[in-house]
Amino acid sequence: MACLELQDVSKGYRNGGRTVEVLSHVNLQVSEGEFVAIVGYSGAGKTTLVSLLAGLAAPDSGRALFEGQPMSGPGPERGVVFQNYSLLPWLSAYDNVRLAVDEVHSGWTAARRRKHIEACLEMVSLLNARDRKPAQLSGGMRQRVALARALSLDPKVLLLDEPLSALDALTRASLQAEIARLHGEERTTVVLVTNDVDEAILLADRIVPLSAGPRATLGPSIAVDLERPRSHTSLNRSPEFKRIRESVIDYLLGSAGRVRPAARVPDHVAAAATVDLMTAELGDA
C-alpha cells in the first residue's frame, strides 16, 4: 500500500468567474521510506500539489489518499515545510517548535517535551540560536527552524515545498546535506518539490517531472540509482548523473514544456522556466 497517493487528481482556481485548471489528472504514488522529488517549472502548480498532498486543499476531482484512506484535512502526520518558512514572527525559534510539540505531543511530560524540542533544534544545529526571533535569523536559519518544527511532529511524511529556493548557493548546499542526512537516519518518507534538477538528483530516490501549467500533469518517473552518500563533486563526474539530468530536462523542455507554454502559459512564467532550465544546461556543458 502506498503511503501517499494521488489518484487522477485535478485542481483549479476560480479566477473572475472562470475556473483555471492548474493540475490535471495527476497520479502519484509514494511508498513508505521513499524520497520522491517533483521537479517542475516555476508557476506550474507545484505549491498546489504540495497543498493537495498535505490536505490543505481538497481535489476538485480524483482522490488524495494517505495510508489508503481519503484525507479529511491537514494533520501533523504530514509535516510541511513551506517555501516562505511560515514561522510565527512573535515567537522565538524555540517557541515556534514548542507550539508544535505542545500540541502534537500533549500526552508527554513537560520534561520530555523540552528534551524533544531541544533535540530537534540540535538536529538542525540551531540550539544556540533558540531564543532568537525569526527576524533576527538569516534565511537559512529560518528555514532550518521550519525544518525542525516539521521534524518535531515526528511526521510519517515530510513535505518540502521548494524549501531551499530562497537561499544562497552555500546555505543551500549545507541544508541539502542536512536533509539527506535526516532522510538517511530517520527513513522518513519525503516528498520534495523543487525547480532545481541537480538538487532533486542529489537527494531523491525517484524524480517525477511536472509539466508546464496550466493543466500541468506529472510525467513518467525517473529512478535515481546513484549510491549514497552523494556529493555535488562526485555527481558532477558521474555519467549516470548526466543521463538522469538529461532525461528530466528533455521531458520538461520537450513534449511537456515547449509545445504547451507557447499556447497557454503567460509569457513571464514561460520565460522564467526557460531561463531556469537553460542555466541548468549551461552548467552541464
Partner: protein
C-alpha cells in the same frame, strides 16, 4: 562670523582649504540649531498674533499676559482644592482622565470582540458593516441625549457616549488586522490541528496585535476629544466641565488654560500609545 574668519586667513591657501569643511560644519550646526528653534518661533508668532487680536480685535479675548496672571493659581498649585469650582487644573484633568479611562476601557471591551467578529466572519461583516459605516460618523453631541434617555443618569450616559464614539477605530483596525493575517500562519495552525481556542489565542491575537494597537491609539484620541463635549453637556467636574462653567462665569482666561491643558494631555496620551505601538511592531 565664519565668513570673516575665512577672509582673515585667505592668503594662506592650505588654511583656506581647511576652513572649507569647518565652515560647512558650522553651517550645518547652525541649520540644526535653527530647526530646533523653529517650534519656539511658531509659538512666539502665535503669542504675538494672540496679543495683537486681544489688543486691537475689539473682542473680550484676554491677552497672553493676563491669561497667565489669572491662571497662575491653578497652575502653581495644580492639585489644590479650594472649593468645588476653584481647583487646580491638574485636579480637573485627573477627573477627566478617570472618566476617559472608564469609557475607553468600555470601548476596547466592546470594540475588540466586535472587530474580531467582523474580521473572522464574512456573514457578520456583510450584516453589520453598513450599520457601522452609518453610526461611525455620528457626533458625540448626538449620542449623549440618547444615552441620557437610555440610562436616565448623566454618569452612565457619559460612559456610553465615550465608548460608542471611541470604539470605531478599534473595531475597524482589528477587523482589518484579522483579515490581513497571512494564510501561512493559518496553514500552520491547520497542520498542527490547533483547537479553535488555541488558534485564536496563539495565532490570531498575536498576529493582529499591531493592528489592534493602532486602533487603540486612535480610539484613545477620540475618547479624549469626546470627554470635553460630554462634560460640557452634563456639567460634570473635569477640564471640559470647568471650561464651560468658566465661560458662564465670564472668566475667559480659564477657557484658554483649559484648551491648552486638553491639547497637551491629548498629545501626551498619543505619544505614550505610539511608543507602545512601535514596541509591538518591532517585536
Amino acid at each position: 562670523m565664519s565668513n570673516l574668519a575665512s577672509v582673515d586667513v585667505a592668503p594662506d591657501a592650505p588654511a583656506r582649504l581647511a576652513a572649507g569643511p569647518l565652515g560647512s560644519r558650522m553651517t550645518r550646526l547652525a541649520a540644526r540649531v535653527g530647526s530646533a528653534l523653529l517650534p519656539f518661533a511658531g509659538i512666539a508668532a502665535l503669542l504675538v498674533l494672540w496679543d495683537l487680536v486681544s489688543r486691537f480685535g475689539g473682542t473680550d479675548l484676554p491677552s497672553p499676559m493676563r491669561t497667565w496672571e489669572v491662571s497662575r493659581p491653578l497652575i502653581v498649585e495644580p492639585f489644590a482644592k479650594r472649593g468645588e469650582l476653584d481647583q487646580g487644573i491638574l485636579r480637573f484633568t485627573w477627573y477627566s482622565l478617570i472618566l476617559v479611562a472608564k469609557g475607553y476601557a468600555l470601548a476596547l471591551l466592546l470594540g475588540t470582540p466586535l472587530g474580531f467578529l467582523l474580521g473572522l466572519s464574512s456573514l457578520f461583516r456583510k450584516a453589520f458593516d453598513p450599520i457601522i459605516q452609518i453610526l461611525r460618523p455620528v457626533s458625540p453631541l448626538a449620542w449623549l441625549p440618547l444615552g441620557l434617555v437610555l440610562f436616565q443618569n448623566s454618569k452612565p450616559a457619559s460612559l456610553f457616549t465615550i465608548a460608542i464614539c471611541a470604539m470605531w477605530p478599534t473595531v475597524l483596525n482589528t477587523a482589518m488586522g484579522v483579515r490581513a493575517i497571512p494564510q501561512d500562519y493559518l496553514n500552520v495552525a491547520r497542520v498542527l490541528r490547533l483547537s479553535p481556542a488555541k488558534r485564536f489565542f496563539k495565532v490570531l491575537v498575536p498576529a493582529t496585535l499591531p493592528y489592534m494597537f493602532t486602533g487603540f491609539r486612535l480610539s484613545l484620541g477620540i475618547a479624549w476629544l469626546v470627554i470635553v463635549a460630554v462634560e460640557m453637556l452634563t456639567g460634570s467636574p473635569g477640564v471640559g466641565g470647568f471650561l464651560w462653567q468658566e465661560y458662564n462665569s465670564l472668566i475667559y482666561e480659564h477657557i484658554i488654560l483649559c484648551i491648552l491643558t486638553i491639547g497637551v494631555v491629548g498629545f501626551g496620551l498619543d505619544r505614550i500609545m505610539s511608543v507602545i505601538e512601535t514596541r509591538l511592531r518591532g517585536a
